[in-house]
Amino acid sequence: MNLTLKVWRQKSDKDKGRFVEYKLNDVSPDVSFLEMLDVLNQDIIHQGHDPIAFDHDCREGICGSCSMVINGSAHGPDKATTTCQLHMRRFKDGEVIHVEPFRAKAFPIHKDLMVDRSAFDRIQQAGGYVSVNTGNAPDANAIPVSKEYSDMAFDAAACIGCGACVASCKNASAMLFVSAKVSHLSLLPQGAPEKHERVLKMVAQMDKEGFGNCTVTGACEAACPKEITLENIARMNREFLGGFAVKRK
């Protein structure tokens, strides 16, 4: 198939950036979206120009590196699919495809489609863990965990930290990401002792990073490649209030 691509090119965070048009012929419908960009980049290099920079690594939907807005949707048109898992058979011959980086104030652009998502790490540093040193653990079966809660914790823990929730939110809110982290740990007995402190600290850091507020439009849930649900946000709000209530100082 033949395609027209309009790709966002930007040299650095200081540069203004613009769409550049590329024509691509004879694209196989079986290649992935990133493989299609590989082919385009090979052409660009052969012409002596700078190829399009983008983050990617596992190319199987688990590392959370790839991060593009394709025709206006984070990770493109397919439900529960990362950019690297999207295949060209999803597009029509002759189609015009717009490719942009994940945009948010808290995600400054490094170059082209590559953004800085270190804010997520800092939110995690603020409290996204169980405080247990190596060697301090009791036997793994000492504390039974109901299958139901363990499965719910897993569903939240499946988040790959890609940032599609932020990129798809009109307020660039990180609530879905943060609530997935909070839910994962607070649903398990191992995470319970720190649950109040954790949520307060993580939310404070989230605000500090410049993410927007949540107005529950659900765009994040729709864009999430791992189908993290809004229920997590509700849970986090509840825990936040709980944490606030028991806060001593």
Partner: protein, 638 residues
């Protein structure tokens, strides 16, 4: 040839690790603060080591090529992690895990290391559960297990098909906690380009800041290399695109011996290659072989769709040849048999390079929902890539490069031949012999990081007198200048071939001649072809831009430069090893039933190669492997 001392502790096998821990020098908590340790790579081995050392009070600098520690390729491990907990009451024990691993590795690993690994396996699960890793549980709320290849007990702990992800997120969270506590400084988007050796000891690294292009220097009292394997030599592999051997290879060039480079694991169940633009291969977890049955048509050229081929016309060849292990034979055996049936013309799919992995019996027995609960994400992944529904049609699978058992040589303390350079996880060579069993990579990465390195590194620091060095030292300047020089040369070549074009050529040579089966003639041919390709790389490479900002092509270029040299060494090692063992199958050496035929008399050793200078052949050193507990036999899974 010098004799390599593996520093194996004295005493009974089961006492060795305790003995070593007792002999080790300690560093008192107040003094730990005065020592700096560099950890390169933040996958399971690196993140767990950095977090644990940080908790103990050391200053840790952790470098990763990714934007976040959480993205390392450990995250993609699907199936599970082994531990000798015997929660299933099915006869498992530390000794049995040890035994299975030594046997699975085709008797080419070090007994003492493997036993320590088995001993630590249970602690790993405890630690991960305490961190909040949501392992699968049964209805009573206790941990569930499944079976993996090469074992007849159920000892694999798992978190759906995303075990690696959940374990890495656990280690990453522990690491983030130490960043918050200021014990660890994270240095993301940095790639180590050289090791700095001063007075014969590893004292730091130089790295490229991948965002600014600057070459930065970091000093330390010890360096831990946790940079994973080198499967991407083959271009197409299940490894992540950025996985590479540069850090390990540059350490090799500074004096670290490289051990058993030819031991490559070809994983039997991957989605087959389709088309020329494929950039990587996707694994389908081995756990699928718990419920999937492998078969091909009995008749050559049987082009009927799979579901129209009746039972009597199918050959469930693994079940037929290996009745006691059936579909759960070790990976090397499963891969070789898949290749064999395809070579005989029985392969399926368009290319004829695939076999079926069929779930219809399991779906009939347990229902589609049960299968979905167990493997849903894998089935979904398969469907996304192939546009076929595996609930209705059997999967088509074929072996692909997945893991490298070889790596930098380390002694029992995980220290390389350069004092102060430790190597953890897939980057070292020590525990899996010539073939790794499924669900053992996660176990090894975390054992090394959480439980071995903290002791070994402490002992080294406690026992070693060290001068203070800083990054103004000549050695840092030289290393930095050399790295810059190398990169500049690649940019200056201004040739006509992209990195990928040359890399694909290397991959083809390696896959054809140093892949699932090797022979003398092919290996010698590869050793003539690779030097030619190196010339093309030197003179005809096209790297756009300059070195002064983000340049992903340049990153790929220096990695390929090292892969070319490493590929050559892999072939040399494969040529030297005149036997078949595990993943190393020399066609000249096989039993009448086409199984790998070892030569214990002449090859029961670790081949450790020493770099002798640019353009010169490496020198071989041997570490004899002594088996005091396990009897060497022809491996049988029949």
């Amino acid at each position: 040839m010098t004799k390599l001392d593996a520093k194996i502790p004295s005493g009974e096998l089961s006492q060795k690790w305790s003995n070593r821990k007792f002999e080790n020098k300690l560093v008192n908590p107040a003094n730990r603060r005065k020592h700096k340790i560099i950890v390169v790579g933040t996958g399971l081995a690196g993140a767990s080591a950095a977090a644990s050392l940080g908790e103990m009070g050391y200053h840790v600098d952790a470098l990763t090529i990714h934007d976040s520690a959480r993205r390392a390729h450990s995250i993609a491990a699907q199936g599970g992690i082994n531990a000798a907990k015997n929660y299933k009451n099915d006869g498992d024990s530390v000794y049995r895990l040890f035994y299975d691993t030594v046997k699975g590795g085709d008797y080419r690993s070090r007994e003492a290391n493997v036993h320590r690994l088995a001993e630590l396996s249970g602690n790993i699960i405890d630690q991960c559960v305490a961190q909040g890793v949501p392992f699968a549980r049964d209805y009573g709320g206790l941990l569930d297990n499944r079976s993996f290849g090469g074992a007849q007990v159920s000892r694999t702990f798992y978190a759906r098909g995303q075990t690696g992800q959940q374990l890495l997120l656990g280690a990453y969270a522990a690491l983030m906690r130490q960043v918050e506590n200021k014990n660890v400084r994270m240095l993301p988007r940095r790639e180590m380009l050289d090791l700095v050796v001063i007075d014969g000891k590893a004292r730091g690294v130089v790295a490229r800041n991948l965002l600014t292009g600057e070459i930065e220097s970091y000093e330390a009292d010890a360096v831990l290399l946790c940079t994973g394997g080198y499967g991407n030599v083959f271009y197409l592999s299940t490894n992540a695109k950025n996985s590479n051997a540069t850090a390990a290879w540059r350490c090799h060039k500074r004096g670290a011996y490289f051990a058993n480079p030819c031991y490559t694991q070809i994983h039997p169940t991957c989605i087959p290659v389709s088309g020329d633009h494929q950039s990587k291969l996707t694994l389908m977890s081995e756990s699928l072989r718990n419920d999937g049955r492998v078969w091909v048509p009995k008749q050559k050229g049987d082009k009927r769709p799979a579901n129209e081929i009746p039972e009597q016309d199918r050959d469930y060849y693994l079940e037929r040849i290996y009745p006691s292990f059936g579909n759960l034979v070790p990976r090397d055996v499963a891969s070789r048999n898949a290749k064999k049936v395809c070579d005989e013309g029985l392969g399926v799919g368009e290319s004829g390079l695939a076999v079926y992995l069929d779930f219809s019996d399991a779906i009939k027995r347990d229902g589609e929902d049960t299968i979905r609960a167990k493997y849903g994400n894998l089935f979904q992944m398969y469907e996304k890539i192939t546009a076929e529904n595996p609930y209705k049609l059997p999967m088509r699978i074929f072996p692909a490069v997945h893991y490298t058992m070889g790596g930098l040589w380390v002694d029992y303390n995980l220290m390389s031949t350069i004092p102060g350079l430790f190597v953890l996880g897939e980057a070292n060579f020590s525990d899996h012999g010539a073939n790794r069993l499924g669900a053992s990579a996660l176990m090894q990465g975390l054992a090394d990081g959480y439980f071995v390195a903290p002791y070994s590194v402490g002992n080294y620091i406690g026992a070693t007198k060290m001068e203070k060095v800083d990054t103004n030292h000549e050695a840092f300047k030289t290393a930095a200048a050399e790295s810059i020089g190398l990169n500049d040369k690649m940019i200056a070549a201004k040739g006509s071939q992209t990195v990928d074009q040359i890399h694909r050529k290397l991959g083809k040579i390696m896959w054809d001649k140093c892949g699932m089966a090797r022979n003398k003639e092919g290996l010698e041919e590869a050793l003539r072809e690779i030097p030619k390709l190196k010339e093309e790389f030197k003179n005809d490479l096209a790297v756009p831009g300059d070195g002064s900002d983000i340049n992903q092509e340049l990153e790929k270029a220096w990695r390929l430069g090292d892969f070319l040299e490493l590929g050559e060494l892999m072939c040399r090692d494969a040529l030297n090893r005149e036997e078949s063992c595990g993943g190393h199958f020399r066609e000249e050496h096989q039993t009448p039933e086409n199984e790998a035929l070892r030569d214990d008399e002449n090859y029961c050793y670790v081949a450790a190669w020493e770099h002798k200078g640019e353009g010169q052949a490496q020198e071989l050193h041997k570490e004899e492997l002594k088996f005091e507990n396990v009897k060497l036999t022809q491996r049988s899974y029949k």
